[in-house]
Symmetry: D3
Subunit: 337 residues, 6 copies
């Protein structure tokens, strides 16, 4: 498979060990992640060449963040290191049972938010790539970031790449003066594949499933593809969250009119839910190349995401063989020697 390129902010994640609260913590576990970088890293772990493009502060924290991505096989050649701004952080308290996990963001004024879109030569960056992936977080961060991803999408279309996006609408994030509803349509219009739920479609594009539709996801997807003709596939997970420690997920795929779904998979206990969605899309990118059968690709994506919930950190550290072992029905976690 040709290289997959992702673009977006990488943050340091600081979390108390186990289920401690921040006010109790004598130390904080540190890792790094971001919605798009997590996709690149998961793909690299699966043997797919993957590069992440970002802007970091030129300090120990920025270098450490990039080093974390390289550790998991991501090419960071096109990352920028700039003076004068900071690395975004987020603090994560891991909940349990009926106590939710909580995130305190501390990402304002980051080097990424202040990136210079002109500093990325996308034709050069994407010249050997086959796929570009981005998330709706990126254009929410700053006008500069929105411009950069718009440039990247334009170049990708020019160069014939597949483009995917996780639309991932988070109202709180859009604080630089533009509205998601104004920015996102032009970006989504350049995509072949999107991760989108009915909620996102309503919030971002004002699309509601037809009232009479037997399948709200298909109905939403149809409308999405009508509005944005480049879109050929829409995917999403459904969650039946039982508690902070017990999750149930299934995968949905609308593919040019056809609908697929997987059974629900139980994850109990959940080790780390961050990056669960990112691992679904990286699984789908891998699966799309590995399998003719789209149902298998969806199954791969969904099980990959389920496995992510058992892995510490933002990144899905699993191999294709591990996912396929579960696809073959080995879902009870028996010891492997």
């Amino acid at each position: 498979m040709k290289q997959v390129v992702t673009f977006g902010e990488v943050m340091m994640r600081l979390s108390p060990p186990l289920n401690y609260r921040l006010s109790q913590a004598a130390s904080l576990d540190v890792t790094y992640g971001g919605g798009d970088a997590n996709v690149a890293a998961a793909l690299a772990q699966m043997g797919v060449p993957a590069a992440h493009v970002s802007a970091f502060p030129a300090n120990e924290l920025g270098y450490a963040a990039a080093s974390h991505l390289r550790r998991y096989g991501v090419d960071t050649t096109h990352c920028l290191f700039t003076e004068g701004h900071r690395l975004g952080l987020y603090f994560l308290e891991v909940g349990a049972s009926l106590r939710p996990s909580r995130i305190v963001y501390d990402r304002a004024e980051s080097a990424f938010a202040h990136l210079d879109p002109a500093a990325f030569n996308w034709d050069e960056i994407l010249k050997n790539a086959g796929w570009l992936h981005w998330t709706g977080i990126t254009p929410a961060i700053s006008a500069a970031a929105a411009q950069a991803i718009a440039d990247a999408i334009a170049a990708a279309r020019r160069l014939g790449l597949t483009v995917s996006a996780d639309v991932n609408y988070r109202r709180n994030l859009w604080q630089y003066g533009q509205k998601a509803q104004d920015v996102m349509p032009a970006l989504v219009a350049g995509c072949d594949i999107v991760v989108c739920t009915e909620g996102d479609a309503d919030d971002l594009f004002g699309l509601q499933p037809a009232a009479a539709a037997p399948n709200s996801f298909s109905s939403m997807s149809e409308q999405l593809a009508q509005r944005f003709p480049q879109i050929k596939r829409v995917i999403a997970t459904r969650r039946q969250t039982q508690s902070a420690s017990h999750e149930r997920i299934c995968g949905l795929l609308w593919d040019q009119g056809e609908f697929f779904e997987t059974p629900f998979y139980d994850i109990s206990p959940v080790v780390d839910r961050i990056g669960g969605g990112d691992s679904f899309i990286s699984g789908f990118i891998y699966g799309s190349h590995a399998y003719e059968d789209r149902a298998q690709a969806l199954s791969f994506a969904t099980i990959a995401s389920a496995l992510k919930h058992t892995i510490h950190g933002d990144i899905n550290l699993v191999t294709p063989a591990e996912v396929e072992h579960l696809m073959q029905g080995n879902l009870t976690g028996r010891l492997l020697r």
Copy 2:
């Protein structure tokens, strides 16, 4: 709300990390707690002014214990630090699944057991307070401790405070020559609100629910209120313990003839069950002030206690807003960003 004052022993708690056994431990996690101090600390976390009164040894351990309470917002101004005795300890092995958690107490000869009741000027200590809370552990420790809490209750009544008690009968603790059955009635007689189960009422006061009573808790409470006319409310939790890792609790309230109960709440996994009862009474004290509706107060107390089971240590580190988020039906622990 006016200050809540609690009185009782504070111990150092030493427990192997995770589910290790004491014989395996290369280090022990250390925290501090006590049935009444936990109530003060939980209230302080909820924004209620709270003071704890105790006696500590005048050594590094005693200072560390008091410092732990201050950390969580408790006023320790009236604590005594005395020479010649020790800080009580307890060792906790955290069980899992069908293996129970176990406590090895090492609390004999503590500074608290040897306190001088005359050293506490309760009229001064309680002069700005609105509420006094104590537990049945305190009079079990020594004649001196029993005298001190008797003095405190008398002063509280004099000054018009509300008095609450968790009767919490532990047979093993009463070893200084007096019997709970002889000591407790006079103390409970001074209380407005008690935490008491049918078992406690039988053991301590020889009260059994009427055989024909449709509701044993109400029947027991009626009798309690008859015996001790000062008592207006009786509360308790019911537990359906599934395993060391899975608890189910509901809350009960008898309020001058009326009976209230909550649904059962599932806690799976249990992170730390110590202090579950203390968080119920602190929740009820908070709830009694925050809500007109007694059912809401009970709901607040019960959910606060459920949340405590997900928090490391003896103290319930949750805010009212966190409890109320669950009261609004958000019981599945979805990630909060």
Copy 3:
């Protein structure tokens, strides 16, 4: 009870903390174990005199491994420390939910594999013992190891000891040129009690339960006892593995024609599944001496094994009193003060 002697390899076990993957680990938890040594250690914890015989490299790692056994009460007097070879290792990733735990073995060329069978004077070693226990791992390691256990069994029979074996067939292990099917029968022929499942019996001895048998375990056991007339009892656990975090086990016993089984016990969460089988056999050895009633012995063994799943490390650190507390029906893990 007279001393129980076990013989077999002891390995260092290295595992990332919590559920981390090896590629993430900044440190590895270290413990030591082996299928037979685990039996000796569990018995020593139960107050039964127990000795383990093995060969270790004469270096810090070998000494540390032996020291670990002594810590838990095992007599290591007859262990050899030899130059020129290594301590076998295994790396364990602890899974969760639908992600399996995984073991990477690194045990080739160990001091144990290269032991000199003539270096063990079994008549001396066993002179005060009452029981010899071994596992099918040992003859799989090398011809020398197979010879040593054959010598031990011969001496044990000579001296009138009870001999037990966990046949524990692992195809991958047999790599020195002999086949299990050729080696095991002569060894098993010397045993009074074996742990054996229908799968093992088929793989090792070509025995299948009679098609019409109402009870496949009894049918298998009958045939085993016919083939190897020394065998009087056959035991095994049945597992209904729900996930890497949730196990269900019951115990089976065939005793000279009679069949016994226990209810299933739920273990959720599983803390550490390694050594679950070893704790079943050590529980059965203890139970066989402690109880007249064979059903009680089986119950003790099964609950001991269930408890092992809640204990970190290879060794079952529980006392008989703890097992018996559960045998009396206390299966909900209520806090013990």
Copy 4:
């Protein structure tokens, strides 16, 4: 002694364990501190009533920071918790030998920088206090912070408090448009005691010791007192830094014309050098009250500072008895039982 009040920013400090670099760290040790808060906390540990005034973000991090101060006995009643900004952070790599410790600041846009000076009612805050202490860091952070400390000094003078300052000039910090040289003189003019080195006096006030002066510190101090007639005492430490692990310090005092100095004290190894200066001034405040003899006060301050270098974290966790034990000549660290 009456209450000492300090005012200034408190930051979260994140540092890799031991001497690890940030790029290696899997976890970061977390503590909290600030130049003035450290003074309050050290005084509280010495039994002096101490309050710290600051502005924190109204989130888990801000609460945790305040909780840290309370833990060590500081009154935080007058701290503000405000929405919309962040807690300042700093990342500390602890050096060793010839490798320096390094700090990466991440404190821009903090709640403290954005405080509202009008929100502090200094007449109320200081009404029971006897001493106000501040550092030159505070007016460097923002115009608002400079205004707040100016208000505090004015109130302190009005109410007859002693005012002390650590002028602590850090050129990099002054980035909000004002210059230290313009802001500091008016603030220092309100002080009775200042910590000031010859370098600071030159940089901030353009004062150089007279060329012929036999004692540059005295010469500098004379000029300072001439310029700012309120100043009666000037103190400082001299450092002969041998390496990141080996420090030598002595204390200097100019007191209305008289000069005092201590011997040099060796600290090898240095455990934590952060807060070394803060512990000198807190030691001097304590010593000024505890001893008639100014040389003793200086000795107390210098040894307190030396001891701080052996304590983890920003705060000097030592008692007066511990400092006095060294003042009596016990400088070789012999075990105390």
Copy 5:
């Protein structure tokens, strides 16, 4: 060499990690030790058969303490486990540089203090032993403990063992009503070898070195041998403590009139000074058997003690080969591959 038997209390030791203070500690490192048990364990590490005799509480803590001794090779067969009392504890803060390490003892009412002297059958315990060692801590703990060691010494003399003692006078410990000056002489009278400094000899026996003596240690030793004719050798270390992190020690031996001393050895940094004296006497016991040359025995003892200062915990985990490597002049700690 025949078995060495030691007798005395074993305590749990709890210390904050690194150089943290107790008030900061979120966990405490746990180990176990006692002056005499440390001697047995060090000898076992050196390949000498060694047994320790003690009394422990019959609870998890007592079992863990005994298990710690077995781990390091000590025979615990003759230890008692009794109901009703506790395991003594001590809390250790590790100092650094000019900050001393501090111990907070919490050892009152231990199972050892309450032992029954009649429960030890010394003729049986010592029947295969060649050496008995005890310390002056033991008779300080209680009359019962003093009686037990008196019985042991009597039996040892009867059976022809060598008896050694570390007189180790600690005034604070003698609190049960007897004075060391009354108890110790009869015990020391039964010893062949004693560790004793001039200070101890003065405090305990009122012996002062002759004013004109060129060698105070020899003079003291002569008098000791005159008073207690059984004594043939007196040993001690001299310490030139530079700081809590830098120790210098040399060894002294008076052997029936002859005097030996070693050079001073520098230990910088000191990792753990607890047990430094115990490792000197265990080194001397080993050296006395291993070498004809008494100077070599002394050298071995002193270097063994120096090495102990670099080992965590109370026990000297070094082999004879490691000590001898330094005796051959390899004192610069060059890496061994």
Copy 6:
């Protein structure tokens, strides 16, 4: 600078935390390193493109080792992952003061030892490189490894690269049947720069400095250059090891007849001495490109090596700016803000 390529084995390093001994360790810190890989990683940290070539087992351990190199910026594109062998390990106990650090190797039968020399296409691997570096460890491991490095050197010469070697003679390692004295000359003959001490030159090539030579290093170097005319520069460090915690080093350079040396640098305490030599040669490679002045290159190399002694792990995580800060005379480790 063009890419530097290194070739050699990478091992997992397991060491107890702090100064614990292996027999005490409850966990082992894990990192990865190898003499040549350390050079590549240090160069990558300095901004020099660097690739490491090696053979790893195709299992979690092999992937984790390669991932470690990537984390620190090393290109691992040409590494092989092969079935059937293991990752070499070494266990490191970190000494202190007069106790040496100790290594227990467990590297036999590694994937690297069993590599297939034909699997490396050196013309391809080196096509964009400017420098090849290797160490004398590599040809000591196996005939296959020796063949591979011979092939690499030949290709490097063919392609005009600079070739450097650290001859690093370790007698114990040469165990596959060939002698270093027979293998090394042909390899060294292809080098431009070698790290070689007088001891190595004697052991490997039978060269002794001329008896009358005023400078033994220059004399040795002259002879080396005469024997191997390709050699133009010889470098080495001199060590004055004071203790396991205190090292002194200086750097030596012989450059085509000219001799340079640096002052001695003190490192006290030593944090981690592993890789000290590797950081000297990586520093020299960097310095040779960065500075015209060879004395400066030598100074850079020596200070880089001194700094390595303060960094945990095998790899020198320092930037050129950090080294240059010390070169400018800032040797006292003053805090950098």
